[in-house]
Structures are given as structure tokens and as C-alpha cells.
């Protein structure tokens, strides 16, 4: 099946990528294969339609938001580096890695995982989850299965519990605080195969 090294050499700046994301060579190759498989027209970058072609993602209630997380505002293309960097958020935390005091924060740190989840709620990127944005997410996840009143009561209750400075919106800090006890590593990590 060819040596792994030859595939690695074809990817530009792969050393930097591995360093920043913490993926092993085998993972990078696997992700590269996947990237190429998604990039059906072989353009070297992905556009939102390529993501949309993934059936399971299209079935996901928040599929569009997840796709949106890959594309920074104004950009319509995702290259391999960005693809890998975003997926790096979902790497399990390396428990045994010693904390170097001056090293930059890892992409898959708890804080960064939370930031990723936060942006799924905060679509206008103003740093706060407004009541409206919360309602939109709830509607996406629940569809037509609950009434408008039920939705509003859920939203109200959530904001009441999490909103500490009473500005009727949830900031990132309040978000983080409300999820203190949650095992983020478990919920926001996937095992990368191969």
C-alpha cells in the first residue's frame, strides 16, 4: 500500500501541523485520505457543499452549524491544514503529557473544546448567547416535536440558571461555569481511528 512516508511528504508543512495539533503521522494520513475523498472534484480544498454531501451530517439537526464552524467568516474554502486544525479540537486530552509552563495552549484543551461548542450556539459571534440564539438551537434540535411555549420555557429556565450577571444572555464565562462539572473530555472527544 505504499510507504507512509511518501504520503506524508506530499503534504506541505506537515511537521508544523503535527506539532500544533498533536496528531500522529498515521492520523494525518488518515485525515488526508478522508479530505481527498470528500474533495470529489479534486480542487485541493473543501466547500460547504462537500460537507453537505455527507449523509449523516445532513441528517444531524445541527449539521449546518457544524459545517459553519469550519468556515471562518467570509471564507468559502477550507484547506487541509484548517480541516485538521478544527478536527484537532476533538482529540482526546493527553492525560500523561506534562504541562509545559510557557507552551501555547493546546487545540484540544478543555477551554478550546468549550469555545468550539460555544460558537455553535453563538452564531453572530458577539461573545454572548442571546435568548434568541438559544431558541434557534433548541428549535433545531427538537424540530416540530415540542410547542413554541415548551421551547420558550426551556430557554427561560436555562438562561435563569446560567446567567449570573442578569443581562439576559450567556457569556462564555457563564457558559464555562455552568459546565464545570461536565466531563468535557468525554463528550467532546472522538477516537481517531487508524
Amino acid at each position: 500500500m505504499g510507504s507512509t512516508n511518501s504520503t506524508l511528504l506530499k503534504i506541505p508543512n506537515v511537521e508544523v501541523l503535527m506539532q500544533e495539533t498533536g496528531f500522529s503521522p498515521a492520523h494525518i494520513i488518515r485525515l488526508h485520505d478522508r479530505f481527498k475523498a470528500l474533495d470529489k472534484e479534486g480542487r485541493g480544498h473543501l466547500c460547504p457543499q462537500d460537507f453537505g454531501a455527507i449523509k449523516e451530517l445532513a441528517m444531524n439537526p445541527i449539521g449546518d452549524r457544524i459545517i459553519g464552524a469550519f468556515f471562518s467568516p467570509g471564507k468559502e474554502m477550507v484547506d487541509f491544514h484548517t480541516f485538521v486544525k478544527i478536527l484537532a479540537h476533538f482529540r482526546p486530552v493527553d492525560k500523561d503529557r506534562p504541562k509545559e509552563p510557557n507552551s501555547p495552549e493546546l487545540i484540544n484543551s478543555r477551554s478550546n473544546k468549550l469555545k468550539f461548542a460555544f460558537q455553535l450556539y453563538d452564531q453572530d459571534k458577539d461573545g454572548k448567547i442571546s435568548r434568541d440564539e438559544l431558541l434557534k438551537v433548541l428549535r433545531a434540535m427538537l424540530g416540530m416535536q415540542v410547542t413554541e411555549e415548551q421551547l420558550e420555557s426551556i430557554a427561560d429556565r436555562t438562561i435563569q440558571e446560567a446567567d449570573l450577571d442578569r443581562d439576559d444572555a450567556i457569556s462564555f464565562e457563564e457558559f464555562r461555569k455552568s459546565l464545570e462539572k461536565v466531563n468535557i473530555d468525554h463528550k467532546m472527544s472522538i477516537r481517531f481511528l487508524r
Binding site: 444531524n60 476533538f90 461548542a117 446560567a162 457558559f175 461536565v182 467532546m188 481517531f192 481511528l193 487508524r194
Partner: protein
């Protein structure tokens, strides 16, 4: 100087001569003669058991190596994290900001690897079978393990591969020659009898040439004349595996080259159904020829693979309905390969046929199980598609394969909104408080839970 070398020369010649004779005698006695009579010495099963022990040892070594370096050994993933568990399992489940994580994670998982493409790539293993092509933990191999792997390479490429290639040529050659000979006989019982024997013998030699260790279950349900045998398709080898235990009429396109020679020879001995390329497009013609064949009970049962493409043997994709419209008895057969010994799946987009055969013949062995299911017929009021799905479900259940809704041809249609709705329903039910569990919903949706399909031999 010359006279000095002479004795050595003749000595070497003599040794070579003797070793060739010994080699061929062994081949004949242990492989070809049993193939003719359909008996087995049990050597292959012994071989298989020793291999299993070896693989377990190899995996343990790698795990030990990984622990020493304080790293994780990446194993096939089976996070059965259900929706119910991931929400707070209290009496009154409430919405939590973290509920979005479940959907987010599943979304990213599908970006990295969705169920459909997973079905098309080779299955990933729990233990290492000393084949580099299936190892994902390169940096955990100790020197001892590398040495073992090296020995394995020598054995596989130096000993097993030439042996198998010789056998393969013998098998195919005999098939062509003998079927042509049988074709000279006048039509009648004698001819049919001889043709059966000849086909069986040659397929058995081919089976040995792949070192295929096959276990047949429920042979009382073997397909009979006038029926259609339907099986799931993983590799071109499926044909050889089934045909070495029973006689079938093959269906296929006429090829050129070596395949064409084989096809023409086979059809002399007993009626197979070969279509010209142009005829394949005409569905009515195809259906007519198949029906005619099936109506004649003196002819052998037809062997068809309705999936139409090679799936990686962890699931059974949508069956194409053509073969189910004909209206005769269908004999389903489930084939499941044990991936520990060699990956039988043919990814035709990645490897060509010759490459694939080389892989096959340089693996340790091909181990598989075949289950003959009881015959099924189309019921009153059932159309071809429903019948096809019923047969497919039976095959999937028997072989322990996941029954998937997706079409093997991967039609690029719009995903039905109904699937999204089902997910929303699921989530709302958990939130509002209900006794539905994820597994219950999965069964209803025909949606496979993420877990590796285990085989029992």
C-alpha cells in the same frame, strides 16, 4: 579449477532434482488428491489455530510496548455513548447546555468517517495479524516483533506464495482442459455427473490455492435445481467458495482474455449464463434468460450476487430487485469472512485485480463461514423490493452483519427529511421523559449502532 567444481555441480543438480520431486509429490498427496475426493487432512485447521495463538502474542507485545511508552494503543472504536446516558440520567431530564455536545460529536464523527464510507474500507482489527498492511501502531513494534514479522514475510512470500500460485495455475488449467473434455460427451446423465465432479474438483484445488478454511453451516438447505442462490458479495473469491461445495450455474458478462477462455470452456460442460456486454443493459432479456433457465429443472441453480458491488463484509447493502422479480424459490446464503487472517475485501477503486490476487495469496489464510438459509419465496401481496429486503435482512441477521439502508451504488439523492425528524423525535422524547432507548430506536430505524461486528468461528 573446472574439474574441482564438477562434483559440486552435479551434486547441486541432483539436490535440485530431488527437492523438486519431493515438492511435487507432497503437493499431489496432500493437496491435489484430497481435492479430487473432497476430503481433508485437517492441516489447514491446525495451521489456523497456531496462527491465532501467534497473533494474540503479537498484540500483547504491542500493548506492553505501548504501556511502557505511556501512549495509547488505538483500537477500533466502539463508543456506545447513547443519547440517554449522555444527558443527566435523572427522573426529570432537563435541557442542559451540554446536550449539544452529543449532536456535535456525532456530526464531527461523520465528517471524519461516515457509516457509508466505513462500509467500503477494509475492516479495522483489534489485534495485529503480522501483516504490515493492517497495522496502525507502527511505533510500538519491538525488535522481537519485527523479527517475527520478517520471518512471516519470508514464509508468506517465499514459501506460501509460490505454492499457491502453482496450485492456482493447476486448478484453472485443469478446469479448462477437463470441462472441454467433458463437453465432448453427448448430453445426458453421464455428462452432468462428470461435469459436476470436474467443477467441484477444480474449485476445491482453487480453494486450497488460497488456503481458504471454510466452515459450511446448515448444508441441508443447499440450493436445489430450479432455484436461485443469493449471497452477499465481498470479493470475487465468493464464487469459488460457494462453488466448491455445490454446483451452480454462473451468471456474468462475457470477458475477453483468460477469463473468456475459462468461460467458454465451462459452458461446454454445463449450461452457464453469460451475457454479452450489450445484452446486459436490456433488463427484459436478462430476466427472460434467467427465467428460462430456472424453469428447466434439469439445470443447476443460478448463483447471483444482488448487491452488485463489493462491500467490506461488515454489512449487507441494498439488494437490487432484478433477481427477485423472476418468481422462483430463492435460497439465501450468508458469507462472513474472518478478517484476522487476511482481508478478503476488494476495494476496486484502490487495487486492480492482479494486485488483489497477490494480496490474497500472500496473506496467511482466508477463513470464512458460510450459512445456508432455508429457502424463501415471494409471498402474496409482496412486491420485488419488499421480498429483496426480507431476504437481505435474513442474510444480515444470520451472518452477524449490519443491515444498512443505504444503496450500495451510493445514489446521490437528497437525504430524506424524515431521518432528521427521527433524530429530533428521539431527542425530544428523552427530554420530555419517555421509556425509549437509543437501541430501540435504532432497531426501528434500521440504523446500525456503532459497534464492531464480531465473528464466531
Amino acid at each position: 579449477m573446472e574439474s574441482y567444481l564438477f562434483p559440486f555441480d552435479s551434486l547441486i543438480c541432483m539436490l535440485l532434482g530431488i527437492s523438486f520431486t519431493v515438492w511435487f509429490t507432497l503437493l499431489l498427496v496432500f493437496i491435489i488428491v484430497p481435492a479430487i475426493f473432497g476430503v481433508s487432512f485437517g492441516i489447514r485447521r491446525l495451521y489456523m489455530k497456531s496462527l491465532i495463538k501467534l497473533f494474540e502474542w503479537a498484540t500483547l507485545r504491542m500493548e506492553r510496548g505501548a504501556k511502557e511508552k505511556n501512549q495509547h494503543l488505538y483500537k477500533p472504536y466502539s463508543n456506545g455513548e447513547t443519547l440517554k446516558r449522555s444527558l443527566r440520567g435523572g427522573a426529570e431530564p432537563e435541557f442542559d447546555m451540554s446536550d449539544i455536545f452529543y449532536f456535535c460529536r456525532r456530526g464531527v464523527e461523520s465528517i471524519v468517517d461516515d457509516e457509508v464510507t466505513k462500509r467500503f474500507t477494509a475492516e479495522e482489527l483489534e489485534s495485529w495479524n503480522l501483516l504490515t498492511r493492517s497495522n496502525y501502531n507502527f511505533h510500538h513494534i519491538s525488535t522481537r516483533l519485527t523479527a517475527l514479522w520478517g520471518v512471516g514475510v519470508l514464509i508468506r512470500y517465499g514459501f506460501l506464495l509460490p505454492l499457491r500460485v502453482t496450485l492456482a495455475f493447476t486448478g484453472v488449467g485443469l478446469l479448462v482442459v477437463l470441462t472441454s473434455v467433458v463437453g465432448l460427451f453427448p448430453n445426458g446423465r453421464m455428462k452432468n455427473y462428470l461435469s459436476d465432479k470436474v467443477h467441484l474438483m477444480c474449485y476445491r484445488i482453487c480453494v486450497r490455492s488460497l488456503t481458504a478454511i471454510i466452515t459450511y453451516h446448515d448444508s441441508e438447505n443447499k440450493p436445489k435445481n430450479g432455484g436461485i442462490c443469493v449471497a452477499n458479495h465481498t470479493s470475487p473469491i465468493d464464487v469459488i467458495i460457494l462453488a466448491s461445495d455445490g454446483c451452480y450455474a454462473m451468471v456474468g458478462q462475457v470477458h475477453g482474455g483468460l477469463m473468456g477462455v475459462i468461460q467458454r470452456a465451462m459452458v461446454k460442460a454445463c449450461p452457464h449464463i453469460w451475457f454479452e456486454r450489450s445484452e446486459v443493459k436490456d433488463r427484459h432479456l436478462v430476466a427472460k434468460r434467467l427465467s428460462d433457465h430456472v424453469a428447466d429443472t434439469s439445470k443447476l441453480p443460478i448463483l447471483i450476487f444482488p448487491e452488485g458491488t463489493c462491500i467490506n463484509n461488515t454489512s449487507v447493502m441494498m439488494f437490487k430487485k432484478g433477481s427477485f422479480e423472476i418468481g422462483s424459490t430463492v435460497y439465501p446464503v450468508a458469507i462472513k469472512y474472518d478478517p484476522r487472517f487476511g482481508e478478503a475485501f476488494w476495494n476496486s477503486s484502490k487495487f486492480g485485480m492482479v494486485n488483489y490476487l497477490l494480496h490474497m495469496m500472500s496473506s496467511w489464510a482466508i477463513v470464512c463461514s458460510v450459512w445456508y438459509l432455508p429457502p424463501m419465496s415471494r409471498m402474496e401481496g409482496e412486491d420485488a423490493v419488499q421480498f429483496a429486503n426480507r431476504v437481505k435482512a435474513a442474510i444480515a441477521r444470520k451472518g452477524g452483519l449490519a443491515d444498512l439502508l443505504w444503496d450500495g451504488g451510493l445514489k446521490r439523492g437528497k437525504v430524506k427529511e424524515v431521518f432528521k425528524e427521527e433524530q429530533q423525535k428521539l431527542y425530544s422524547k428523552v427530554l420530555v421523559g419517555s421509556t425509549w432507548t437509543l437501541s430501540g430506536c435504532s432497531a426501528a430505524l434500521n440504523w446500525p449502532l456503532p459497534e464492531p461486528a464480531q465473528t464466531e468461528l
